[in-house]
Amino acid sequence: MGSYVPSTPAERQQMLAALGMEDALQLYADVPEAMLLTGPLDLPAGKSELQVRGEMEALAAQNTRYGTILRGAGAYDHYIPSIVKYIPAKEEFLTAYTPYQAEISQGILQSIFEYQTMICELTGMDVSNASVYDGATAAAEAAAMCRDRKRSVTLISGAAHPDVINTVRTYCYGTGHALRVVPVKDGVTDALKALLTPDVSSFIVQQPNFFGQLEDAKALGALVHEAGAQYVMSCNPISLAILASPAECGADVAVGEGQPLGLPLGWGGPYLGIMAATQKLMRKLPGRIVGQTTDAEGRRAFVLSLQAREQHIRREKASSNICSNEALCALTAGLYLATMGPEGLQEVARQSMAKAHYLCSELCKLDGVARVYPGAFFHEFVTTLPRQDAVLAALSKAGILGGLPVDGGVLWCATEKVTKAELDRAVAIVKEVLAG
């Protein structure tokens, strides 16, 4: 059996003897005897490292790995540079706890401060926190931070990711606040104005939205502000390299799913909740925030700051209960952004967009395939697709994960990682099935 207990049986007896005991069970004298487990747990016996490796590899082998992924919908298959895989695996980064002891945690604290700065640059916002769990919880936390006594209703675009909408709904159910979903027409948010009643605290829009479409984010922001509410934009961070930043669109809070910034698909997690806001909302931001200060000798130092907002001080009056966040994912995202640089990130965005547009135009040359929604899109789009199941099965057989079936068609995605040759091959397979 495997074990990570270093003390030998003899040492354990010595330690027990020092306590005047013979058996470790004596340590559990406070546990009512009737409750103590009498037999062994109904679990397999412990295994050696070699056996565990074999079993874990066998589990991984039961999954199908696709060489070409044309599916996004909230999880994107971007290229991850080698260095972005290696550095977060350093044991110091991996095994440290939350940096409460600043003197021996400057490395983590500085990495978060750098991450916060990069998120501010990407979004154009004034302040960023150190991360929350994922893009969906970031949206839910944003809704919470925008509420006040007079305004408690949250609006969210129906073109946002279904998991984001449902997560915000769940958080609203928790506190007992209303959530209203804004209708969608032609694949974008519609009829927002009518819903902007005086009790609305915030409106959440996703850019690009779940269908890949570009929302008229500036116009939506203007409507929200006219109604006296706060504007929350949920953005794909890669797209921000070329799309108008939340600040340029008038957002009060910018959130987003940080997975595209160097994190693997990993069947959904761990991912990264990006969250940034205007200066005005700084003290309402939930979660940890790192600040710069000095030590007694005037040296630059980083600390967890503004802790008076947080649960360990405010308890039931805190705006959020978050403590553990996604620090290592934030470090990874910062590392990814530093590795790619401004030009590299713009290149990822431009190439993803170019390849999606190429895929779209090639697919739409086929009979029965057409875009479902008009208007501009970034790197995802919805098409009609006859014989959908047969097409996706044929693609799968060829090692290609096709688009995601959604209402009215299939949601396709392309990133910089796929080559023209791969796209041509995918389109040829679709053509063949449709012809057959």
């Binding site: 546990v31 400057q106 990495s111 997690g269 600390v303 405010r314 640089g341 910089e416």
Partner: protein, 467 residues
């Protein structure tokens, strides 16, 4: 050291992507970014050196003894990391068809079997991304249960005053009024205070057992019985599960739902503050309220985040559970408790335990007399430990003990490490009486001294700006 932005040189870059092999897609000006994108410009060498330098200013479990109470800083096995980096896990899209993700689903099923058996629960979700997120999920189970029964008058959650701050914050996020009840002298639930707090408006009780001072509440069956009698449910905060796993089960203590911190009890790394994973288990009658992803599994249920959870963290925990197995799980718990009691016994005689009795996996030192006599605070001792190569214990928690230092050695430390740590504590105790001055300004051998936190808070500098 330099910030990454201060290393930036205009025009410097890494060669990562080939040039684009399809025609560029035009972007309408109305949608385009006007604002300059000011990210650092670096070579790969610059990036590598920068992060290596950062890593040298971090103290991890791999660096040395890390007795941070309530955080269970046990060794993080490397095989678990390798398992989580298998391409058959990392490369799987969360929305890939069910038939393509049999391995991922088997990981969750198998991990659920282990954790249900250990916790005494019937069903498990892995959606929550951390302990506090698990608490939120668990208390939402309680809320949905009462709502489904039309008992909306149950508006209060009872939380002992010794609880971690997340408990009351969680209850508030679930729309509940928090009823704080005082603890008895040993940090356990005061049964009279509990009886007085219970009523037709009670939704439930949030409790950790062993409690936050490291003592197993021997009245636990009576506590859960009283709550159930009043129509409330009992939530188990699994923060301290490492003390009892495989020895006694929360399900057998009368709890209805529980969260477990995979990043504490099941050895997945803390990553400098996350990602964790907060598996939530419940008894059969609550399982229809467990969250699930609308996109993966259909609408109609609540969900606390996107997709299935911090899956790669669950992979690590499963590799750990497979390694320990039925004998290793209780062995870990018993040795965690043995190590804590042994360390406490070795320190006793200098610093005083707040509760001089057998503890579970952690114990609290009360430095109030010591501070009165020497002027040296718990903070000073904690900072002095840094210069002796140790990570400090948790400071000033739980709130019910003044000048508290809370130590949790975990089972993965050897007798030698504990003996050496105890010697350091005894030595610092003596130093406080002989030569306290340096302790007030410790640590001395670190890249920075104590940072000015007041300044950080009064004049917040939360991002770098070019001068």
């Amino acid at each position: 050291m330099k910030l990454i932005f201060e290393r930036s040189v205009p025009g410097r870059r890494s060669a990562i992507l080939p040039s684009c092999d399809v025609e560029a897609a035009p972007l309408d000006e109305a949608f385009a970014r006007q604002r300059e994108l000011r990210l650092p410009e670096l070579s790969e060498t610059d990036v590598s050196r920068h992060y290596t330098e950062l890593s040298k200013q971090v103290y991890g479990v791999n660096c040395g003894f890390y007795p941070l109470g309530s955080c269970t800083m046990k060794y993080n096995p490397r095989i678990d990391e390798e398992a989580a980096s298998l391409p058959g896990f990392t490369g799987i899209h969360p929305l890939a068809p069910e038939a393509d993700t049999k391995g991922c689903r088997a990981v969750l099923d198998e991990a659920a079997r282990y954790l249900c058996e250990i916790s005494g629960m019937d069903a498990m979700t892995f959606q929550p991304a951390a302990g506090a997120h698990g608490e939120f999920t668990g208390v939402l189970l309680i809320k949905q249960y009462h709502d489904a029964r039309g008992e909306r008058q149950r508006t209060k959650i009872i939380v002992p005053d010794s609880a971690h701050g997340t408990n009351p914050a969680t209850a508030a996020m679930c729309g509940y009024e928090v009823v704080n009840i005082a603890s008895s002298a040993d940090g356990c639930v005061d049964l009279d205070a509990l009886r007085a707090a219970l009523g037709p408006d009670t939704a439930g009780l949030m409790l950790t057992n062993p409690n936050t001072v490291g003592i197993f509440d021997k009245n636990i069956l009576e506590i859960t019985r009283l709550v159930h009698e009043a129509g409330g449910l009992c939530y188990y905060d699994g923060a301290n599960l490492n003390a009892v796993m495989g020895v006694v089960r929360p399900g057998d203590m009368g709890f209805d739902c529980i969260h477990m911190n995979l990043h504490k009890t099941f050895a997945t790394p803390h990553g400098g503050g996350g990602p964790g994973a907060g598996a939530v288990g419940c008894k059969d009658f609550l399982k229809d309220f467990l969250p699930r992803s609308a996109l993966m599994e259909g609408e109609g249920r609540l969900q606390v985040r996107a997709f299935a959870g911090n899956f790669l963290v669950v992979v690590r925990a499963l590799a750990y559970l497979k390694t320990l197995g039925r004998e290793g799980v209780p062995e870990a718990a018993k040795n965690a408790v043995l190590n804590a009691n042994y360390l406490m016994q070795q320190i006793k005689g200098s610093f005083e335990p707040a509760f001089d009795r057998v503890c579970m996996h952690e114990f609290v030192l009360d430095l109030s007399r010591f501070k009165k006599e020497t002027g040296v605070s718990a903070l000073d001792v904690a900072k002095s430990l840094i210069d002796r190569g140790m990570h400090p214990p948790t400071m000033y928690f739980p709130l019910i003990v003044h000048e508290a230092l809370m130590l949790e050695p975990t089972e993965t430390e050897s007798k030698q490490t504990l003996d050496e740590a105890a010697a350091v504590f005894r030595d610092l105790y003596r130093q406080a009486y002989d030569d306290p001055e340096p302790m007030h300004t410790a640590p001395h051998g670190t890249p920075i001294g104590r940072p000015d936190e007041v300044k950080a808070s009064r004049t917040p500098v939360l991002r770098w700006r070019q001068d």
